[in-house]
């Protein structure tokens, strides 16, 4: 028995490390990726990793960049900031990558932001927090839309619906805290009164007690800023309590699986998101349409899994680096950074990217759409 276990262990180690090491080829361009493929944020990192593997595979099959193959080195950080730091050092010093894509979470990105800046390695993060690009670092970029746009979109929609008093609930994660902060920051400016603001544990499995408290305040709407599992539990608990006020969620709701998990309770949830989720419903002449549909169809055919916003952030990150490599004449870290900063009008899944020396997110308010759930499908909110 012990022998069998030992053999299994060794086999696991070999296959695991072969996956991590990839092939080394002198003529190739190395891009590092630090993604939370497993662990608590695997719903972000896993689709990101799959997307990037697919993009690089297709690019290499089509001849790479000017005949040079791309070698993508994916490191699984499991959403652990310490691991992210050591992987970043390893990728920069040992693997000599030209740029890093990821990490998946804001906490990890903030940990390696200064590191990449001091080593002068371009970093294109897949994480949402505004702090990644504000204050700005010369080598750090990010693909998801800013939290502040999301908060402003939610408030704009509320004004249209004549909502005045709201309850804000958020999970105790970096994502939840950042979102709650943005909501509190813009509330008075947008004429919305937050009558109750609460934080709950990210692993909470039942929130009826909290929602009873929110309900007792007589709110016109509830905003929930969290990721799984709470964003599917909150709508269920609200319906079970008989609360019939509108529920707004963050852009973290952008995965049809969460709608399935909330079932009928998901109907009517309002949230801002990029256009990937409604790619099929976009008008034919929309500048993002062709890219969105191409990515969606390729991903869904290859992995037999519906696309999510998060895979889209990964797609944007790797595509932007590839675009920068194509435009760069020097093919070094400095050249990629300069080339990234000069990208404009690039249609990604998150919106049309226009990087400038002052804007390393490159997306405007119009990159988001208000979406809702109708008959278990994402649709435009009208």
């Amino acid at each position: 028995m012990k022998k069998i276990l030992a053999v299994l262990l060794v086999v696991g180690l070999i296959t695991g490390s072969a996956f991590a090491m990839g092939q080394s080829d002198e003529g190739s361009i190395k891009i590092g990726a630090i993604l939370a493929v497993t662990g608590g944020a695997s719903f972000l990192g896993a689709p990101e990793a799959r997307t990037m593997e697919m993009v690089v595979e297709d690019l290499n099959a089509a001849g790479g960049i000017n005949g040079k193959m791309i070698e993508l080195i994916i490191k699984d950080s499991a959403a652990n900031p310490e691991k992210a730091i050591s992987f970043a050092k390893q990728l920069i010093e040992e693997d000599q990558v030209i740029a890093i894509v990821g990490p998946s979470t804001s906490g990890e990105t903030m940990q390696i932001k200064d590191l990449c800046e001091s080593y002068k390695v371009p970093l294109v993060s897949c994480a949402a927090a505004e702090a990644i690009v504000n204050p700005q670092a010369a080598y750090v970029f990010k693909t998801p839309q800013k939290d502040s746009y999301v908060a402003k979109w939610i408030y704009t929609t509320m004004k249209d619906m004549e909502i005045e008093k709201i309850g804000v609930i958020a999970a105790n994660t970096g994502f939840g805290n950042a979102g709650k902060g943005q909501l509190e920051k813009y509330a008075s400016e947008m004429g919305i009164e937050i009558v109750i603001s609460e934080t709950y544990d990210k692993a909470a499995t039942d929130l009826t007690a909290l929602l009873t408290k929110v309900n007792a305040q007589g709110v016109d709407a509830v905003v929930n800023w969290s990721i799984v599992p709470a964003q599917s539990i909150v709508p269920k608990n609200m319906k079970q309590l008989g609360m019939d006020v509108p529920l707004f969620q963050s852009h973290g709701f952008g995965n049809i699986k969460y709608v399935e998990a909330a079932g009928e309770a998901a109907e009517g949830i309002i949230f801002p998101a990029g256009r990937l989720l409604v790619a099929d419903k976009l008008p034919e002449d929309h500048p993002q349409k062709a890219n969105l549909v191409a990515y969606k169809d390729a991903y869904e055919a290859k992995y037999n899994e519906v696309v999510s916003t998060f895979g889209g952030h990964g797609y944007d990150a790797i595509m932007l680096v590839i675009e920068a490599l194509k435009n760069s004449t020097t093919l070094d870290r400095e050249g990629v950074r300069d080339s990234l900063e000069s990208i404009s009008g690039f249609p990604g899944t998150g919106g049309i990217f226009n990087f400038t020396a002052d804007d390393h997110n490159g997306l405007g308010m119009e990159s988001l759409e208000m979406l809702t759930v109708i008959d278990g499908q994402f649709d435009f909110y009208k």
Binding site: T199, A209, L210, Q240, K257, A261, G263, E264
Partner: protein, 296 residues
């Protein structure tokens, strides 16, 4: 606070408390026969939810749940056979480390088999949006299912331990393993059975709560901590006290939310737990004589 709101908080507390209780019962059954704290207990809950979800794709819901419970108890039995039995010579601390290892193993296996997506069984009666009004407070019909299943488990466990030969043998192992062996009780078989029963109860819990709480491959570790707290609160080794302690903790949490920000929930519940343990180190319903016989 109106009467309806008080009732609403009570229901919320009982629901959460029953979930804790499912995990705590499992801790206690294994602890009482082996003296081991099995930190993989939360993973049994996860496995129950995951397996029944997969099976419900190919068969009706109830056979799927029954089969999921059976499969999970076999997994529990297998774990005992492969890991626990062979390593019995190690210290209590060593055993704890092994169970933590098993929990990681099960979690990673679940990630490999089911991926990182969350899943939920369909509601047994009604749907996500149905709710029942009881004296003005609203609850999901699924909560009634959870409470019913918890009650059935408590009653069944009581009769099993009290009146069946196997149950009495298990209790004998719990009282004094050496004396039980001298009386001709196959202690290793009892240990195996305790793993199977607690895995099965955990899995059943995982199935009934899945529509409410959803199932995720990594849900086990959080449940394990809360369940462990409840098991200690009730008095280690007493499965039925665990249910009372679980519901008590759920109610404390629920009412603390009603008056203070939710962020303080765990601080309050842990503070109350510490006060109880200082006053009564063997737990609310534990006997100090029984706990003196244990290794820790």
């Amino acid at each position: 606070m109106s009467a309806e709101q008080v009732l609403q908080y009570i229901f919320a507390g009982i629901t959460v408390g029953s979930i804790y209780a499912f995990v705590a019962i499992g801790y206690n059954i294994i602890y009482s026969t082996t003296g081991i704290i099995n930190f993989a207990q939360g993973e049994f809950v996860m496995l129950g939810g995951m397996i029944s979800y997969s099976l419900s794709g190919v068969m009706p819901l109830f056979p799927a749940i029954v089969l999921a419970v059976i499969i999970t108890s076999l997994v529990g039995g297998l774990i005992e056979n492969v890991f626990i039995r062979r390593m019995r010579k190690t210290s209590v601390m060593g055993m704890i480390v092994i169970t933590v290892g098993i929990s990681i193993l099960l979690r990673e296996a679940a990630l490999y088999i089911w991926d990182e997506q969350i899943r939920a069984l369909p509601f047994f009666t009604g749907s996500e949006i149905s709710s029942v009004s009881i004296f003005g407070a609203r609850i999901s019909p699924q909560v009634i299912w959870v409470l019913a299943v918890t009650s059935v488990i408590v009653v069944a466990l009581f009769f099993f331990l009290k009146f069946t030969l196997s149950g009495q043998a298990m209790r004998a192992c719990s009282e004094n393993p050496s004396a039980a062996r001298l009386c001709g009780i196959r202690t290793d078989r009892m240990v195996n059975m305790s793993f199977m029963i607690s895995a099965g109860i955990g899995a059943l819990g995982g199935c009934v709560v899945s529509p409410l709480t959803q199932t995720h491959y990594a849900m086990g570790s959080d449940l394990a901590i809360k369940g462990f707290t409840v098991a200690i609160l009730g008095g280690l080794g007493n499965p039925i006290a665990a249910v009372a302690a679980g519901i008590l903790l759920g109610l404390i949490e629920s009412f603390s939310i009603s008056i203070l920000p939710m962020a303080f929930k765990d601080v309050i519940s842990i503070a109350i737990l510490l006060i109880i343990l200082v006053a009564k180190p063997s737990g609310l319903f534990g006997s100090s004589q029984a706990s003196a016989l244990k290794d820790y």
